[in-house]
């Protein structure tokens, strides 16, 4: 008997969170992400885990941070308008270096936008939504099996790097029912957190580039966690030398390890003369388009980014040594195309296929762009 079963994308997120050991969810209902909360409201209490529906998305993320600091593995799920509200506490989580996972099932924006239609327009908000310089990790699965693996990876990365991780998802993929073989428990790789040995309360003390151990409340020492810039004890400070060190500590813990964080998939790239750069549902259409175009003799390949931030700069620059044409396909008015432009040399020709009206690209539309661009 096949082990494959049919699940909705949102349910796969919830199942992966359970498998990853997530034991606290706080959220606020919003289409098209609500199934994640609904599923966990049913399943978490069965396992003695915590679920709470809060009064808004700001409080949902606040509760998640409080629980994370109390030793829980936490998750919240939302969509564009809720993600906007979460930016305030996302900043606090970055500043205080708290592991948590936020799922943003994107929908058409700005504002209330097109609630039940897909969009890929929160790419930059995911990177720069909260104020101030900050590091962030953003993952973006496209296929059902990736939804599971990337959700687990989001928890692992958040705990390893003491940082919030955002999982972006397309409305169509979150709402679609697809068949998937859920991995066996023994095949799921879960990061085991380092146990921190506390000496003189220097909870943030480490060298630049080191990934930190985790510190929680109620562990027998009176720690202070502060959204103000703080010293190695977590106590507020405005000392320029300390502020400088802390800024670098936070940024470098991600960028120092970006080779470990950045993940992508490549299709038909070996002899490709043209590359499509895409992600999420657009990458799925693009993969079909590449197959069609290949049948017609066009040497085109697909670079599917699974990690959006940090941006896969090194990998792309390596490809641009051979490939001199790049077509960025994204469901927005042009966001990641600027990143592609930034990392590509002048001799690489750039083109885009963009749309933000709630309708995903068909493979044929992408084939047409490939043909046009290959002339």
């Amino acid at each position: 008997m096949s082990k494959r079963k049919v699940f909705q994308g949102n349910i796969i997120v919830a199942k992966a969170a359970i498998a990853a050991g997530c034991n606290f969810f706080a959220g606020y209902p919003i289409t098209p992400s609500s199934e994640i909360a609904q599923h966990l409201s049913r399943e978490f209490p069965k396992m003695g885990r915590d679920f709470i529906q809060m009064e808004d998305e700001i409080s949902a993320l606040g509760a998640c941070i409080g629980a994370s600091l109390s030793g829980k593995k936490v998750l919240t799920a939302t969509s564009g308008p809720g993600f906007s509200l979460m930016q305030e506490h996302l900043g606090l989580a970055v500043m205080t270096e708290i592991p948590l996972v936020i799922v943003n099932v994107m929908r058409g924006g700005p504002s209330t936008g097109i609630p039940t239609k897909p969009s890929q327009a929160d790419m930059m908000q995911a990177r720069w939504g909260t104020h101030g310089d900050h590091p962030i990790i953003v993952l973006y699965p496209a296929f059902a099996d990736e939804i599971f693996s990337e959700t687990v990876r989001a928890f692992n990365l958040s705990e390893k790097f003491w940082n919030p991780v955002i999982l972006l998802l397309d409305e169509v993929i979150a709402k679609a029912h697809e068949d998937i073989e859920l991995p066996a428990k023994k095949d799921i790789n879960i990061y085991k957190e380092k146990v921190n040995v506390i000496k003189d309360l220097n909870i943030y003390d480490r060298n630049i580039g080191e990934n930190p151990p985790r510190v929680d409340f109620f562990k027998g020492y009176p720690i202070h966690i502060d959204g103000l810039e703080h010293d190695s004890h977590g106590y507020p400070t405005s000392d320029p030398a300390i502020a400088d060190k802390m800024q670098h500590l936070r940024m470098q813990k991600i960028y120092h390890y970006q080779d470990e964080i950045i993940k992508f998939k490549e299709y038909y790239m070996d002899d490709a003369e043209m590359m499509i750069f895409s992600f999420g549902v657009s990458a799925r259409s693009a993969l079909s388009a590449v197959k069609i175009a290949r049948e017609e003799g066009i040497k085109v390949g697909l670079f599917q980014a699974l990690t959006i931030w940090p941006f896969p700069k090194k990998a792309l620059q390596e490809r641009f040594k051979k490939i001199k044409k790049v077509l960025t396909v994204e469901m927005n008015m042009g966001q990641m195309k600027y990143e592609v432009e930034r990392v590509s040399p002048d001799d690489v020709k750039k083109d885009t296929l963009l749309r933000a009206n709630g309708i995903p690209f068909t493979p044929q539309e992408i084939v047409n762009s490939i043909k046009e661009f290959s002339k």
């Binding site: 808004d56 509760a63 600091l69 109620f218 027998g220 009176p222 202070h224």
Partner: protein, 284 residues
């Protein structure tokens, strides 16, 4: 060393508060309440938002968390649900709790989640330099009401009573012993509690309203507060601008939220899981 000083984190001193500020009184009253109850500092967490009151957790030698403006209760909700056995204390100011954080406050009261809130009411945004708050009295001059405040104010204790908070009290920084006692009682309450501590901001509110030193201002506070018993004896027309102090509402019948979650939801879900498993086995 006094017994309560074990709860004070001296290495983070000095405080950012102005000389004569009531916040120091509240800090000491809370530490003394901890001490009277002989709580283990490791079992306490003090959480605050932004403002002069927001800085207070820094000075407690317990687990402490300084969060965002008005939203300390949301973090506290996460902590309490995750660790129901811990003493979760939230300190807030009037701008913090009554303006930007008003929504979180009414919902915490509605849920009856076991958070102990101390709401320091000094009637002004002190940290930002003295702008009007939702608790500034009418006609008062502030940095953003240069011609006098035309907005009526909230009465936080009465608002909390209306939101069915299960423990509501009011005290003032003039009455330190009573303040400590009422905080102590609130810490012992099983459910959401709020203690409104009326305090003085002579620098950023008093100075512009003919009360430029702490003595003028605490006298003004004293002139406006009466005990609950005295208040009840007052004729309705004499009650305007008088605020009763003491415990104003106490309801011990309602379940605390995290207790209810663990005593009701988790067993109910586990029962459902058993039935589902049995149904699956029957199919096979």
């Amino acid at each position: 060393m006094n017994k309560y000083e074990k709860y004070i984190r001296y290495q983070t001193f000095p405080t950012p508060w102005c000389p004569g500020c009531g916040d120091g009184v509240v800090l000491k009253a809370i530490a003394m309440a901890f001490s009277d109850l002989d709580l283990d500092p490791n079992d306490i967490i003090v959480i605050a938002g932004i403002g002069c009151s927001g800085r207070m957790p820094t000075f407690f030698n317990t687990n402490t968390l300084h969060t965002t403006h008005g939203r300390a209760l949301t973090f506290a909700t996460g902590v309490k649900l995750a660790r129901p056995e811990k003493m979760v204390v939230v300190i807030s100011g009037d701008g913090d709790a009554m303006a930007i954080g008003g929504n979180h406050l009414i919902h915490a009261a509605r849920r009856n989640i076991g958070i102990k809130m101390i709401l320091i009411n000094n009637g002004v945004y002190g940290m930002t330099g003295g702008q009007v708050s939702p608790l500034t009295p009418q006609k008062f001059i502030t940095e953003t009401t240069p011609y006098g405040n035309i907005e009526p104010k909230f009465h936080p204790a009465e608002l909390m009573i209306a939101a069915r908070a299960t423990f509501v009290a009011r005290e003032t920084v003039n009455r330190t012993v009573q303040l400590k006692e009422v905080i102590k009682k609130s810490l012992q309450h099983n459910g959401f509690s709020v203690v409104e501590a009326i305090s003085n901001c002579h620098i950023n509110l008093g100075r512009k309203n003919k009360m430029k030193n702490p003595v003028n201002m605490t006298k003004w506070i004293a002139s406006r507060t009466v005990t609950k018993e005295q208040y009840e004896k007052l004729a309705p027309e004499d009650r305007a601008h008088k605020y009763p102090v003491g415990i104003l509402q106490e309801d011990t019948a309602r379940y605390e939220y995290s207790e209810l979650y663990h005593k009701h939801i988790i067993p109910a879900a586990k029962e459902a899981a058993k039935k589902e498993a049995a149904a699956r086995n029957n199919k096979k």
